[in-house]
């Protein structure tokens, strides 16, 4: 009767909670997510998408979005914040081809030589292993090739503008710094960065080395976690529906029966377990 009750409850529960349903998609299968990062120092701008003013007086260091856009190609022009239309862009117009089910960050930034430009990055939303997070580093600064140090040791080497590097690592805090390639003297940081489980933490090195405006911008995109592959929460068969039936199935919790129960299980398993373990079980209860 007990078993039947549980089975009935389980069926209702599974339906109610969707315990055996498929997980939902992060992004619609027909649209793309677009973020826009302003990483040109000291210059507020306007951003036009397909000729329409979309971001007004957009400030350096700010991140806009996500915009949920149907897959397709979009023309983006970036103008001075004082402009009244997109006819005289300072960057672009550039065409951004956005694929469905994909996350992007378009970055307005300086080239390695210091000229305003824009780069479209694809954000890696592949799911992370349980207990892990993702660290992405993007070089969008007017600066030469860099290494990224974690805890003083290089984990990413020879990263150049406008490129990225990424790695998955155990969730936790990373002391991150940026140094010229081949050196370990930081030009940025070190700073503590939280690598959260199931989150893509994207670090942007932006600004200008010559102008002493180098800075780090952080974008995070979560929801990439995966659950453990299982919850193995038993090993002895003491609570099993198919446990040996000899008179103790209804008397769980009685201390006097513990030794006998465990001994019988041990016999079933071949008797290879030391009896000392059974004694500790008795102490516990």
């Amino acid at each position: 009767m007990r078993t039947r009750l549980i089975a009935g409850t389980a069926a209702g529960c599974i339906a109610a909670l969707g315990l055996i349903a498929a997980p939902a998609q992060a992004i619609s299968p027909t649209t793309a997510d677009l973020y826009v990062l302003h990483a040109v120092p000291a210059t507020p701008v306007d951003v036009y998408v397909n000729g329409a003013l979309t971001l007004d007086d957009f400030q350096p260091g700010d991140l806009a979005g996500p915009l949920d856009l149907p897959a397709g190609t979009y023309s983006v022009a970036i103008t001075a914040a004082t402009a009244t239309d997109a006819s005289a862009p300072v960057i672009g117009p550039i065409d951004l081809a956005l694929a469905a089910g994909t996350s992007y960050t378009a970055v307005a930034h300086l080239s390695a030589a210091g000229a305003p430009t824009a780069t479209l990055f694809t954000n890696d939303l592949a799911r992370t292993a349980p207990g892990q997070g993702r660290l992405t580093v993007r070089h969008v600064a007017a600066a030469p090739s860099v290494d990224v140090l974690a805890g003083g040791a290089p984990v990413i080497t020879a990263l150049t503008n406008p490129n990225e590097a990424k790695l998955d690592l155990a969730a936790g805090t990373v002391s991150a710094a940026v140094a010229a390639t081949g050196t370990t003297t930081p030009v940025l940081g070190p700073t503590d960065v939280a690598v959260q489980e199931g989150v893509n933490t994207i670090l942007y090195a932006w600004g200008s080395l010559d102008d002493d405006t180098l800075a780090i911008a952080v974008q995070t995109i979560g929801g990439l976690h995966t659950p453990p592959t299982g919850v193995p929460a038993g090993e002895a068969g003491l609570a099993a529906d198919n446990a040996p039936p000899a008179g103790f199935s209804g008397a769980w919790g009685g201390t006097a029966l513990w030794g006998g129960t465990a001994l019988l299980i041990l016999a079933v398993l071949g008797g290879s377990i030391a009896l000392a373990r059974v004694r500790s079980a008795e102490e516990d209860h």
Partner: protein, 212 residues
């Protein structure tokens, strides 16, 4: 602008709805069909869609508030809790002692606004014997559950349902929920036992929601 006016209008309307999957939102769409960009420029700017803007400062992550004790009087459960992660093989780590529950430290905790706080304990052990979580399956709906957190906060729940789900079928993605309404899941093993592999075939789940 070389692009067809219709496309611009559609894009603008979508931008204006701010990521909605349903463009026919109730939000007013000011003159989306009258693209201002192709008419003669005026001294004032056209309306701008409501796009979320955030800073990019390096802010510390939210610190979890670990649960430290769970009691379910109707099941005779009153056990301490340790934070646990995953084993090398990707399975959830669990305290060896059947009288200690493991809290999945990568997921929500009782102070989280959303998702499932997962508390799991071995149903039995060759060392520690049958554990208190073996009695989860006997609980009735409405049974009270109390979780105490490291900061001293007390969180009260009521059992909503008990489920026994085959491990081969269970979707742990859904059980280890992070975005739904806040709740807790007490987990252990049950059902048939495979004496050759030493594993149970089912997981037992006691789902509890915040007490009214």
């Amino acid at each position: 602008m070389p692009r067809p006016r219709v496309l611009a209008g559609v894009a603008l309307a979508l931008l204006l709805t701010g990521c909605s999957l349903n463009p026919a939102s109730e939000r007013p769409v000011p003159s989306a069909s009258a693209p201002a960009e192709t008419t003669a420029p005026t001294a004032t700017k056209p309306p701008v869609p409501d796009v979320p803007i955030q800073g990019t400062e390096n802010v510390p992550a939210r610190l979890a508030v670990p649960p430290v004790r769970v009691s379910v009087p109707d099941a005779g459960i009153d056990v301490g809790i340790e934070p646990v992660g995953v084993l090398e093989n990707g399975e959830m780590e669990l305290p060896a002692d059947t009288s200690i529950a493991g809290w999945y430290e990568y997921g929500p905790d009782p102070s989280s606004e959303t998702g499932a706080t997962i508390l799991a304990a071995h149903v039995d052990s060759l060392v520690y014997g049958l554990g208190p979580f073996s009695r989860l399956r006997d609980l009735a709906a409405g049974a009270p559950v109390r979780v105490t957190s490291a900061d001293g906060a007390v969180h009260d729940y009521a059992i909503q349902s008990i489920a026994r789900v085959a491990k081969e079928e269970i979707v742990l993605d859904t059980v280890f929920d992070r975005t739904g309404p806040a709740h807790i899941v007490l987990m252990t093993c049950g059902g048939q036992f495979n004496y050759e592999t030493g594993h149970y075939l089912d997981n037992i789940l006691a789902i509890a929601v915040p007490a009214p």
